[in-house]
Amino acid sequence: MGGGSAGRGVPAGDGAGLVAEILREAASEAGRLRASGVVSAEFERELDSRFESAAVRALRVPAIAERSVRARSVARRVVPARARPAARRIARAGDRVLRAAFARIDVARRRP
């Protein structure tokens, strides 16, 4: 941990005074971090965007699982028993194509 402390005191036994002092300094220090580009607005936006991207990917997993359960239940009703092995092969191939497409989209999104 770095940072100097010249001129800054610790009010003895006064939580409110100490907190006010830390808050005052933090507001000015946050301004300095932004102005110097150490923690720029762009850095903060990049963090937001990366979490949003992680959220979309995480939320896709249950959505895909739910759709897959629904699709299987429909398929069981409409695909005759003798055609099911072929239908499974086609579904697996489609799944591979879609996964590859989503992976490409993710890579493209993250490219600067």
Partner: protein, 364 residues
């Protein structure tokens, strides 16, 4: 209304390592200590709670003279309908209900449950003779919902958690990491969207970048659903913090005590807290608190921690740095936290609970 001979409790779900569940067990001990018979009825009984709690189906549908019910309200549930339908005097203990918009993206059914919970809270108001709230913030929501007689009773935090001795193995592992340098940030609470651990990771990323590249963040608590924790883990890896952010899940109380024993700072940037028992535990355990001032947090933290008006990564990072980098400040804030935490001792909460029940009985 007649004086009670028994006050049973109804709760939607009861599980281990949960603040409302612990509160309910402690309330049962206190009610029994006050001379009332008291059983707990839950719609969902989690592992480890069987034998101590009855399934709600066993709650007698008819009430004899002097049989009261106390409903522990924190989510929408059919348990509220069972509570409403039972004749007799009713009390309600409100622990707040997370606003639906903070959770529904991640767990759509939970969004529905929280909306139902707020509707049930308002619908129960005319039938409840006296209501308890674990913060003035929650009490104000009760008043808005139409509750006429209310009283603040802090969460009855079980002594077991506060008094638990740090596990030597966990302390040793955490201290080995500390010896390499860098400060330890801690947050304890459910890994859930309204606790905003993703904003905590953002602030931590800013802190490492600006001040302390060897800092570590420990996110302790069980997850609510799988999508949010999955997103959080992906996010941590994506921003290159995989080795410095530990997401532990639920841990034994000795390990939890070890995290508190080795933390430099407890940082909370939740979007919603009805009370936030871990903040009080941090102050009890001499860990200084930096928190985003929202919902009940200004009241729980008081002058015992740093309350931030907003939670941009730069501001949170600068506040933690300002606290940890100036000699004497951490110790001074620990002392302020201890003074604030003294308001929330289990004895004080027990006394407030007994007094609230006595008031409810006197008004009966």
């Amino acid at each position: 209304m007649s004086s009670p001979v028994r006050i049973d409790q109804v709760i939607p779900a009861i599980v281990e390592h949960d603040a409302v569940s612990n509160h309910t067990f402690e309330a049962q001990r206190l009610l029994r200590g006050m001379g009332f018979a008291s059983e707990i009825y839950a719609r969902i009984v989690g592992p480890g709670c069987e034998g101590r709690v009855h399934p709600i189906e066993e709650l007698p549908r008819r009430a004899e003279e002097g049989e009261w019910l106390l409903y522990q309200c924190s989510i929408g549930s059919p348990a509220a309908d069972v509570f409403a339908a039972r004749p007799g005097t009713k009390l309600l203990d409100y622990h707040n209900i997370t606003p639906a918009h903070l959770v529904e993206r991640w767990i759509p059914p939970l969004g529905d449950e929280t909306r139902l919970g707020r509707a049930q809270l308002a619908a129960l108001a005319p039938f409840v003779s006296f209501a308890l709230a674990d913060s003035a913030f929650n009490e104000s929501e009760l008043t808005t919902a139409g509750y006429a007689r209310t009283r603040v009773v802090p969460v009855l935090v079980e002594g077991g958690n506060i008094e638990a001795v740090p596990s030597p193995e966990a302390v040793s592992r955490l201290e080995r990491a500390k010896a390499e340098g860098g400060s330890d940030w801690l947050f304890v609470g459910q890994v859930a969207p309204h606790k905003a651990q993703h904003d905590l990771v953002k602030a931590f990323a800013a802190y490492r970048r600006a001040y302390d590249p060897r800092a570590r963040l420990h996110v302790v608590g069980r997850e609510m659903g799988s999508a949010y924790i999955d997103a959080l883990r992906r996010f941590v890896l994506d921003v290159g913090l995989g080795s410095s952010v530990e997401i532990t899940g639920s841990v034994p109380v000795g390990d939890l005590a070890a995290y508190f024993a080795t933390a430099d700072v407890f940082v909370c940037v939740s979007d919603h807290e009805g009370f936030c028992a871990p903040v009080v535990e941090a102050m009890h355990r001499e860990v200084p608190v930096v928190a985003y001032a929202t919902a009940a947090l200004p009241e729980t933290v008081g002058d015992g921690g740093v309350l931030l008006p907003e939670k941009s990564p730069a501001l949170v990072a600068a506040a933690v740095h300002g606290l940890l980098s100036v000699p004497g400040r951490r110790e001074a804030l620990v002392a302020a936290g201890a003074r604030q935490a003294a308001r929330y001792t289990l004895d004080a909460a027990r006394s407030a609970f007994r007094s609230a029940i006595e008031e409810a009985v006197a008004r009966a």
